[in-house]
Amino acid sequence: MKNKGLGEFEELILLAVCILNGEAYGISVKKEVEKHSGRSVLLGAVHTTLYRLQEKGFLESDMSGQTEKRGGRRKRIFHITPSGMEQLRQAQEVRTKMWQLIPQLKLGLS
């Protein structure tokens, strides 16, 4: 993988996984993203992104938590990895740095 950076949607998903902290699987992530971003997201998009992030090493997963609601099937629960956390932090830093460089904002503050 050449591009180890995060896409915008990937970032949202990663954040959602962090928020859910141990409860993150396809649907819960989808809902979380929808709740915060206010846009509707396709389940397939969430799943593919989760797997892509796992491939990049930002997430890890295991199967657990079967419920009646799912016809007795287990969920794949995703956790964030240290490198995922690192990536998020980097993204956050880049943003903050850049935010601070916006002249209009400086003017508005002063």
Binding site: L42, L43, H47
Partner: protein, 893 residues
């Protein structure tokens, strides 16, 4: 089947997902889908949940599938473009192979497509009726001892109303009565417009309720319900009234009943795929006024009507048939006991009528399931021969592509990819052939129509079924023709190919050889078939008929007569006038002309006193006293009609002349013994035999000669004129002048006796022609293939030939060397063809009363022709190779 759980997402979508995605994904994805489905059901309803479920599944399949049409690494567009370039390059480089491949396939496909259209057309008969699936024709089947059951579409007039009254399943009935002897029709306003019309029917007012023949003009709500009204077809309206509006005008029809009818409606001409072809429909009530129909005994027994019924939807046919039979039995039981027969009734589906030739159906367009099957088989064989060409040439020339395959594999192509490349190539070639043949089939359709005797609609107006079948055919051909070459071509091991070992796929050539054998076996069978059909036809037409029908003009007697005269007198005066013409030798009249059937046929004639002979069937014909002389029918014994006065001919016992066959069938030992004996024809007509004629073939020589009896009459409806000059065209118009002068209100209808007799052979001739066309095509396509293979072999062995020539081989040696293998295949094919042709043609000949023995020379000739053609094809290439200068072929090493 397990009922779908209310809370499960769409089953089909789930199945699709589980088939297309790796197992490791199943559990969590299906689980998620189900969970979200339930939530959506409770929040937005099932429809929304189902829809979104599908959307999610498709999205997941695209996202996780191992195939990734939208995000694959390779760009498919460029790949196909590359395939396309390679394909066209290859086609252009090997123009000969490409030409043979495409041409052969296109020829075979053209046949196949035409036959497809023919089959669709034949099966589409009568389906244009809105209610065709509930309309049936009433068929009465007669069972009598020792004879095959005889099903017939003829019924009495009373069965229709009885069925409607007594069987609740019957919604409507329609009776039709054809004008069996045609009718003379004229427009009273324009007396010169007088023609004979044959598609004239009497029918019930319910006709238009049951069938769907749309009205163009007039009141479609209650046609034919009043007496003396008529509904005519569009083309008939044009013929008699031109562009005028015919509604309310009158038409004079002289058929079995004579009358002037008010035109109430004009309908579109019946479509080509209607088994009923009518021009004039007259009210049934007018016909039933005839005194003959008042007699209750004729109501059921006089079976000249066609009866159709429309049943309620979903009726049980078995029950209906049983009820029908019971009704007929109740009304006919005593009659049956007299003549020792029983009858059963069944309802025949409307769209079965056209193809079911087993059932007698007067005045219907009849084809047969047999001819449809026969043509399908021929079409499939031709297609196969063409496909074999394709497979053979493609695999034979595979070695040319071996290096390409090797390189591709070395660079990393998978076998699967190579196969898809070669599949693409064959699809492309087949597509070209397919488009060519679609155009060609349209171009030759008029000739095909003439050959088969149908009127196929053009491709533009054909229904969607055809295109569906075309698509299916295209896929099938792709599979059959593309699969094997793709396997063969992609199998090469790069190490062998690139090392340069030249062993073209000889180990696989047994299949190729087998296919060539099959091609030629099929072609030779068709060749033998063609010659057998032609020999048989020739034999039938040149058989001694026992009478001479050459140079005889037959004219229909006038139907519209001046007042105060009878047909007898009119014909007599016509005869007197004719005999004044120098070229007229004899004039005679009869009830029918050769090939035109009899006056009546009966299932029973027996000797009197009873018990001396069995009941035998017979046919009877009225002739006048000069008829036999005119036709050269030999009187074997007795006085014939010479001594019989017309008055005596009309009194019991009627004087009759029998033919030889009848005499022997009735158990007489010799014609002389039968003279003055009495027979009872058709239960109750006592006749006295006054002479015995030599047998003649009154109908096609395809059939056995029938037991016949000739009654004497005069002034009968068909006038035969023996002409003593070769200038026939002139005589026709001269006789016409006499006719028109005497009977100005009648159409002058004449035909030469031999021409009208030969009409009976029209179908056989058509069959022969069809057979020969297909035989030629099969041979042509096979030879194309052979030519391709020969070219290929010659190329492969250029070096070998060069070396042989250097070492002293002659041209003849080399030609033999190259041709031998192919000829062996053709000869094997020949030996395979013999038993098949022998069996098939033996079956075909079974249908003929007078048939040829297939001599050895027929087989040998067909085989020889095939071998010679094959030899010619192969040796062209062989000679070219053999003549080449060895220097050219050996130089470049």
């Amino acid at each position: 089947m397990r009922r779908r759980n209310r809370n499960e997402p769409p089953t089909l979508a789930n199945w699709l997902l589980s088939k297309l995605l790796k197992d490791s994904f199943h559990e969590e994805l299906l689980g998620d889908l189900q969970e979200i489905y339930q939530e959506r059901v409770s929040s937005r309803g099932r429809w929304f949940a189902g829809f979104m479920g599908w959307l999610d599944v498709l999205h997941l399949i695209i996202g996780f599938g191992s195939f990734r049409p939208f995000r694959g690494q390779a760009n498919l567009f460029f790949m196909y473009k590359h395939y396309f370039v390679i394909t066209t390059r290859n086609l252009l480089r090997n123009k000969v192979y490409a030409g043979i491949n495409i041409l052969g396939l296109a020829l075979g496909l053209t046949c196949c497509l035409l036959i497809f259209q023919y089959i669709l057309f034949e099966y589409s008969f009568d389906t244009f009726n809105r209610n065709f699936d509930t309309i049936y024709r009433v068929v009465e089947t007669t069972f009598s001892d020792g004879k095959e059951p005889y099903p017939s579409g003829r019924t009495g007039w009373a069965i229709g109303p009885a069925l409607e009254n007594e069987v609740p399943e019957v919604k409507h009935f329609v009776r039709m009565h054809p004008e069996y002897n045609n009718a003379v029709v004229s427009n009273p306003a324009q007396p010169e417009k007088v023609f004979e019309e044959k598609d004239v029917f009497y029918t019930d007012a319910s006709f238009f309720k049951v069938f769907s023949y749309p009205f163009i003009l007039g009141d479609s709500t209650r046609p034919l319900s009043e007496p003396e009204t008529v509904v005519i077809s569009e083309s008939l309206a044009k013929k008699y009234f031109g562009e005028e509006n015919p509604i309310g005008k009158t038409l004079s029809v002289r058929g079995w009943i004579v009358g002037t009818y008010r035109i109430e409606g004009v309908v579109e001409d019946p479509p080509k795929h209607s088994h009923l072809q009518f021009d004039i429909l007259l009210p049934m009530s007018d016909l039933l006024k005839k005194s003959r129909f008042n007699n209750p005994s004729t109501a059921w027994g006089w079976t000249n009507f066609l009866t159709y019924v429309q049943l309620q939807k979903g009726s049980d046919l078995n029950k209906v048939n049983q009820k029908f039979s019971e009704i007929l039995e109740r009304n006919q039981k005593d009659k049956w006991e007299q003549s020792n027969i029983t009858k059963k009734v069944h309802a025949q589906a409307l769209n079965d009528i056209h193809l079911n030739e087993e059932i007698e159906s007067p005045r219907s367009l009849i084809s047969s399931y047999r001819s449809v099957y026969f043509l399908s088989i021929i079409g499939i064989i031709t297609l196969f021969i063409a496909l074999i060409n394709y497979v053979n040439i493609t695999t034979a020339s595979a070695f040319d592509r071996a290096r390409e395959v090797g390189i591709r594999k070395v660079v990393g192509a998978l076998r699967r990819q190579l196969m898809s490349q070669f599949f693409f190539e064959s699809t492309f070639t087949i597509l070209i052939a397919f488009s060519l043949s679609l155009a060609a089939s349209e171009y030759v359709k008029p000739h095909f129509n003439e050959l088969i005797g149908t009127t196929l609609p053009s491709l533009l107006s054909i229904n969607s079924h055809f295109w569906l079948m075309c698509g299916g055919l295209f896929l099938l051909i792709n599979l059959l023709a593309g699969f094997y070459p793709a396997i063969v071509l992609s199998i090469y091991k790069p190490i062998n190919v690139l090392k340069g070992s030249r062993n073209p796929s000889t180990h696989r050539s047994w299949l190729r050889q087998g296919l060539v054998v099959f091609q030629f076996a099929a072609s030779i069978v068709l060749l033998i078939g063609t010659s057998v059909v032609y020999i048989q036809l020739n034999f039938m037409q040149n058989m001694d008929m026992g009478m001479d029908i050459s140079q005889i003009l037959t004219v229909s007697a006038p139907r519209v007569l001046p007042e105060e005269t009878t047909r007898e007198k009119a014909v007599e005066s016509f005869r007197q006038e004719l005999l004044k013409l120098p070229f007229v030798e004899k004039v005679a009249t009869s009830d029918a002309i050769p090939g035109g059937g009899y006056s009546f046929t009966s299932s029973s004639v027996k000797r009197i006193p009873e018990g001396q002979s069995e009941n035998v069937p017979c046919a009877a014909l009225w002739i006048d006293s000069t008829f036999a002389q005119l036709y050269g029918i030999e009187l074997l014994t007795g006085d014939g009609f010479k001594q019989v006065s017309l008055k005596a001919a009309d009194e019991e016992p009627y004087p009759v002349i029998a033919n030889e066959t009848a005499i022997y069938a009735l158990g007489f030992d010799s014609p002389d013994q039968a003279i003055h004996e009495q027979v009872d024809i058709s239960n109750g007509n006592i006749c006295r035999i006054v002479g015995v004629y030599k047998d003649v073939n009154w109908a096609s020589t395809r059939f056995h000669r029938q037991n016949s009896f000739y009654f004497m009459g005069a002034g009968l409806p068909h006038i035969s004129i023996k002409i003593g000059t070769e200038n026939l065209a002139n005589t026709v118009s001269k006789i016409g002048e006499v006719y028109k002068a005497l009977f100005p209100d009648n159409p002058y209808l004449c035909v030469f006796a031999d021409d009208s007799f030969d009409l009976q052979y029209k179908n056989d001739q058509r069959f022969a022609k069809l057979f020969s066309v297909f035989a030629v095509l099969a041979i042509l396509i096979s030879c194309l293939g052979l030519f391709g293979l020969a070219t290929f072999t010659a190329q492969q062995r250029t070096k070998e030939i060069g070396i042989r020539k250097v070492l002293g081989a002659t041209v003849a040696d080399i030609v033999t060397l190259l041709s031998k293998d192919f000829l062996t295949l053709v000869i094997i094919g020949f030996f395979l063809a013999i038993p098949i042709a022998w069996y098939a043609m033996g079956q075909w000949l079974e249908g003929f009363a007078n048939r040829i023995e297939i001599g050895v020379e027929v087989y040998l000739l067909a085989g020889l022709v095939a071998i010679l053609i094959a030899l010619g094809t192969v040796s062209w290439q062989s000679i070219k190779a053999a003549m080449s200068n060895p220097v050219d072929s050996l130089r470049n090493e």
